[in-house]
Symmetry: C2
Subunit: 323 residues, 2 copies
Amino acid sequence: MKDVDGLDLPTYEDVEAAHARIKPYIHQTPVLTSEYLDDLTGAHLFFKCENFQKAGAFKARGASNAVFSLDDKSAAKGVATHSSGNHGLSLSYAAGRRGVPCTVVMPRTAPQAKKDAVMGYGGRIVECEPSTSSREEVFARVVEETGAEFVHPYNDPRVIAGQGTCSKEMLKQVDGLDAVIAPIGGGGMVSGCCLTLSSIAPQVKIYAAEPLNADDAARSFRAGHIIADDAPDTVADGLKVPLKERTWHFVSNHVTDILTATEEEIVDAMQLIWKRMKLVMEPSSAVPLATILKNRDVFAGKRVGVIITGGNVDLGKLPWMKN
Amino acid sequence: MKDVDGLDLPTYEDVEAAHARIKPYIHQTPVLTSEYLDDLTGAHLFFKCENFQKAGAFKARGASNAVFSLDDKSAAKGVATHSSGNHGLSLSYAAGRRGVPCTVVMPRTAPQAKKDAVMGYGGRIVECEPSTSSREEVFARVVEETGAEFVHPYNDPRVIAGQGTCSKEMLKQVDGLDAVIAPIGGGGMVSGCCLTLSSIAPQVKIYAAEPLNADDAARSFRAGHIIADDAPDTVADGLKVPLKERTWHFVSNHVTDILTATEEEIVDAMQLIWKRMKLVMEPSSAVPLATILKNRDVFAGKRVGVIITGGNVDLGKLPWMKN
């Protein structure tokens, strides 16, 4: 850990420590390739399949690192978060593996499937009203009552160090990478890539891919400061959240470019991956391929690591289904 | 090859020759596991992912063996079949790799998506009327005109030897298998398993899994002779065809049991695999898990290889979608 302008930021040593710590609880996910998609893009694509990760998403890495780096006394009080997406699942999973409580604060209006998934991994749900003020109030009460450790989905040095283990694995699995591309929402995965690659493979360029409908990171990148949008609407629902100061540090210092894709391009790319690679993955995970397809000149002939970030989709509500 | 009661049947030497022959054209597909499904079934399941195979199905193995075992003169005339499913795709793929023509006779009423898929792999489509007599007439004319070699989807010793390479790989990938289970339609994959396992791992039990709605193989197995149904109706559309004499030979001699599952059980198992393993696979490929779930006592505590036979589904017409 190092202090930069008052921010506690993880170092590559923290990634190495994270990897040693979480190895028993995560998968080394496979890297798959597709001749068809290579022909289509003109690039050599190496898909890192975090959809096969524990709890169905890369977030199991960061959550496991946060949970297993707590000392026994803190751990006994449990962990808490208010993410109802992959981070809530992953934190529940990691807490379950350590045998400590996990509380997830969720709006009472959240889909039952999401509540069931969290409970399926052993998490406890505390409901709030569907408003930011209620969420904050209920969450504060949970932490007050339980003494649980708050684990932020991405603006947390332990989480960023955990996500950094993904590109660390990929460097061992694929020789001679020219670039890595990952979707960007809050920037946890991209920050992990930045941390690892800038430390041990600085020749590898880092691209982030974002829905045009939620392009706050791309605009932040160009403006030179964080821009946060209010409730953007995109099919890539894992990517609606804004950058925060720790992820901004990594993104602003190490990312080569942030590319965007339209909703239609994202859904088309998602169908291509389902159809051709036989992978169930989230709309968010299709954004990188969507941007590669429309920026052929950037990636042509290059060996590109593409992070398939997660596979938790509602099979009854796929984006190409008619309602 | 050996002659048994006038039938030319492949031997394990043919499987070994097939494997050497087709290795450049097929994937050694990965074996994936799921802690969740192990807990649910009480067994140790090893999923052999032929949905990741070339052309999206195990049939690329048998088709490649048939195509690449032709001498140059025969090969130059091409190959032909009248399967519009995975075999038609796979034969087109294999012929394309050898650079020889492939003709697939298909009813003019077949879905455009199936025609596009065959053409996408370089196959030529000749349309017939949607009747058996028209199909046979048109097919005979194609063979007459081109001199193409007919490659049957399963009742062909070269095809069975090719399918036998799947369990040969699996034996190297998984230690101590107690059983292997595969879906049964015409019996090509199951025959390949029988051929390989009875030759080099006779302690491994072989189970076949079949839709109750198309249980002709199960009834044949019990009756002791082939029973063929007329146009059975099941969501597992790869499994509608009957056994033929070569596959019957292997099934009747080496299979321990044929288990069946209802349509609802098949779709439930398919959703479980999509949701939990993040694999896009066909309804046919879900039949083994469906039968394992309802025959827990047969598989409990056992190490079971489960063959995920293919991944070619119409993403716009999934069985849980409302029309």
